[in-house]
Symmetry: C2
């Protein structure tokens, strides 16, 4: 595999310039109370406070604005029931082009409402991957819209990497960066950015134990698809993409897993102490620190809180 065909630092730099002013530079929060509990200095990169409530705005905005006018004018398309759909709809509206989103007909009403609020066209389909893919093909054939994959796309991955760039510019001397991993877009972008800016940093992906395809893929060296994932972290149920996995194999130091119990405890503690709304997927990397780890004592740890889109009427501790 040649480095040229993968995600380069150059693509991340271009992404950063392209999305500047179109998405938020999110704050980095710290807490003496959480530092004391962890025995380490923690720096939380708050992508839950990003436009559309998740880092997905970075990649989608980069992808939509990277298109030449001739392609962009036919619109963009994706299938998604989550944050990428809203982020793509938002980016398309910013550029003034149409977004077509294929959604399973069991998608949460709140999620389809967000997509519609940004003016996207929704095409409903049966809630299976096959139906989503075939419906998306039909939509693209009918409209000529450009597919923007949620993670298996170098331009999307480059956009996601800009969060780590901002974090390391604000806090240069991190020892470790923890990042959730689902399809791998965020982790791959994070790893390329972090290892370029600070070659000695450790980059570790964190994954729900009930959707541990990335950890198993990482160990075996080939993609093991996610089958029947069982986790509250709805943003991390998808299988690793090929392009993200190529970067993850080369650049990531480890992938660890956490239980759903730890995810909910981490989420609640972040709400209570940091006073921010973090979704289960976003709390996953902090969950890895809950048990404490002697080897991390005294280190400086960056944590990417990936998103904050939750249904406030269905919080996991109020069931």
């Amino acid at each position: 595999m040649s480095g040229n065909t993968g995600l380069t630092w150059r693509l991340i730099e271009e992404a950063r310039a392209r999305i500047d002013g179109k998405v938020h530079v999110t704050p980095v929060l710290t807490s003496a109370a959480l530092d004391a509990l962890a025995g380490a200095q923690l720096y939380f990169k708050c992508e839950n406070l990003q436009t559309c409530g998740a880092f997905k705005a970075r990649g989608a905005t980069n992808a939509v604005f990277a298109l030449p006018d001739s392609e962009a004018r036919r619109g963009v398309a994706t299938h998604s029931s989550g944050n990428h759909a809203a982020a793509l709809a938002h980016a398309a509206r910013l550029r003034g082009v149409r977004a077509h989103v294929v959604m399973p007909d069991n998608a949460a009403a709140a999620k389809s409402a967000a997509v519609r609020r940004y003016g996207a066209e929704i095409t409903w389909c049966a809630p299976t991957l096959a139906a989503r893919e075939s419906t998306l093909r039909e939509v693209i054939a009918a409209t000529g819209a450009k597919l923007v994959h949620p993670y298996d796309d170098l331009t999307v991955m480059a956009g996601q990497g800009t969060a780590a760039v901002e974090l390391l510019e604000e806090v240069a001397d991190l020892d470790l960066l923890l990042c959730p991993v689902g399809g791998g877009g965020l982790l791959s972008g994070t790893a390329v950015a972090a290892k370029t800016l600070r070659p000695g940093i450790r980059v570790v992906g964190v994954e729900p134990a009930g959707a541990d395809d990335a950890a198993r893929s990482f160990r075996t060296g080939h993609i093991i698809p996610s089958t029947d994932p069982q986790t509250i972290a709805d943003g991390l149920r998808s299988s690793l993409g090929e392009r993200p996995f190529a970067e993850i194999r080369r650049r990531v130091d480890d992938i660890v897993t956490v239980s759903d119990e730890a995810i909910v405890a981490a989420m609640r503690r972040l709400w209570e102490v940091l006073k921010i709304v973090v979704e289960p997927s976003g709390a996953v990397p902090y969950a890895a620190l809950l048990g404490g780890a002697a080897s991390l004592r005294g280190t400086r740890i960056g944590i990417v809180l990936s998103g904050g889109n939750v249904d406030l009427d269905r919080l996991p501790w109020s069931r």
Copy 2:
């Protein structure tokens, strides 16, 4: 009344230098979605993300560190069932002195736990103002501790004013600043800071309709005590202090009231869109914008989100 005896810009500048590095410089968040709903540009100064979850850390830290060593070594004392108690305990621990907090024996367990976590000594008393004040006098007589009043104290007021200084340094050209008002510490500090840095700015206090003593005091020109306040905004039930009221009369342009229904709606919208945990009192100024106001169209509005300490098991929309 002479200006010399009141809150001066000089005191706020001194406060800022004194608390630098001891409390957070909190982020200012924006949201295109909330701007569109309001028809104005909104800048949220996130004091809910402050140390201890509220702006109170500013005033308490300033007061504790302003004490000469000879006084500080005997400790500090206050009576409070809320954010000021935790902030004072935290500041005392930072300085390495004792904090004595008189709390009513019906105080929420979460609040006394926060105070105890910072190492303060709690003295319980009956849940009446008379019992709180007499118990506090006894504690001070026994210990020699210095009283730090939650708001009727120029050093505390000066500390609270530093939030507006940071906001106006980040966003200079605001037309209007909205700020909650309970005892008046935050509003008075905000008004002095804002009118110094930007004389043409309007500063408006916002108060729950069920605890509208500040609005009535402002209109009549003398303090009308809060009697039997009925509001979900537990941080805003106290009566105006004399020192804050003197500044508010001189510097504040208006005080308006909002219903508890609007407060809860504002709180929920801030959680959903900004992805931050805001307590009812903190959502009060934004509640004033929910109805929309033609006169504010196109203006630039700063909003002080004063705190984020809520019981996550008892959210107002999950009853």
